[in-house]
Symmetry: C2
Subunit: 287 residues, 2 copies
Amino acid sequence: MRTVNQYNLTEAVKESFQTEEGSRFKFLLETFIDHLHDYTREVNLTHDEWMGMLNFLYDCGKISTPERHEYILLSDVLGLSALVDMLNTRGGATEGSNLGPFYLDDAPEMKLGADLSQDRDGATVLVHGRVTDILHKPIPGAIVDTWQADGSGTYPIQEQEQGQDKYDLRGKFTTDENGEYYYTTVLPKPYTVPYDGPVGQLLRAGNRHAWRAAHLHYIVRAPGMRDITTEVFFENTEYLDNDAVFGVRKSLIAKVEPVKKSDKLEYHLEKQPDAKFKFDFVLAPEG
Amino acid sequence: MRTVNQYNLTEAVKESFQTEEGSRFKFLLETFIDHLHDYTREVNLTHDEWMGMLNFLYDCGKISTPERHEYILLSDVLGLSALVDMLNTRGGATEGSNLGPFYLDDAPEMKLGADLSQDRDGATVLVHGRVTDILHKPIPGAIVDTWQADGSGTYPIQEQEQGQDKYDLRGKFTTDENGEYYYTTVLPKPYTVPYDGPVGQLLRAGNRHAWRAAHLHYIVRAPGMRDITTEVFFENTEYLDNDAVFGVRKSLIAKVEPVKKSDKLEYHLEKQPDAKFKFDFVLAPEG
């Protein structure tokens, strides 16, 4: 190609990459270039707008640290993370939702019936349910890895400087011979995503709030099955309809019910709960 | 909206931004969200690919400094910068091309006929031409602001630690009563864009080189006219057909011709040139 012009530029850019014919990389790259150029043409982007967008990305980099990934947050508030979760949910399996920034892969292993709340303020809730395959067959020995905010909407990992243990309010449970898991914990409260950076500026420019509906995080694993990363929400709580990161799915909302003193619970529990809810996880086979 | 799903997500994200009806911001944002989601659906993006892309942006942030804007470089190698330049070129005016990272807005004012080369290695070339409006009417008093690499492909600003003056090989000329500008300088050589960062990795993954065709940079300004930011290239030189940042346009290629000792040049010059070329700039009215 002699030189580029408005009509051959997009093809020239795609051809400049000598990628393997039929490869996934080629497909991802070429489709990206098409959309990037189509967008630019469609809005007839000015130099100032172009520079503003590149400076926005630059500013996201400046505030990012190994503990704070502003681009994931950007992906979250633009619904990209939610869309990727949706596209990668297998038919019949539990719907996926945001991993979020606070996962630790070395949470302590806990016994079924253990209490995660450790005298924190807030209602103690029994969380229980089964892990099954898509044919509803229970999966014994599945790992239910959970982490959550406390009754004030804070993750202990965020308050290590105030003396909190980052491993608090998290744990890995192993399902019993019936595929069941059960433990008690404190009900989490809503919290805001970080809005002191460029993504916060974007939210403000769009008159959007930064609140997330209260939720528990889960990764559920079992041999031969595809992992599930998801969140569980609670009926009749705030921000279900306008979660800042579009994490709520109808199938992920659990109903919390009170536990009366007279209720005989079927589990051996470390701590007597005030309320309970049930949530079953369904795993699809790997591959 | 109760909760989001694959079918209402894109609309939900757009609706979450309470932007002014009919505003440019609303249009830019909504069109961006559409393309971002369409791309993600079209390629059926996996979690690993999604994370890889966000980490790529994160890594661009880590290598960026006020002197190195890796996102501009990314925009350059993806042809986005070239496309924005093309979309913003006015009919009849000189085509725009990359600003690049080395512009200084306080280059020294120089007299017509001055020499920028200062005994540097390489051929001395007379650069001359006219600045006119789109009706070919000369514009006296127009500012021709130029900067360039030397005969080894290096900008003095890149070698300040080796004792070079960052204001070398740059200057602002003012056109005379005939709209003419003229000066001598050294012919620049090709050089590579920085490829030690994430964008370099992308180029390597696509088996692309990082070379730019040799060029002179210009910003041309005149009262009541729209500024032009562009580059001038030279016929029969390397990388014209595959400039790493897609900066070359047919209309921006000048023909360099030898100057014989016997040639009588029409200008009063500080230094006798070995070669010469002519390039006219055409400015469109503002607004």
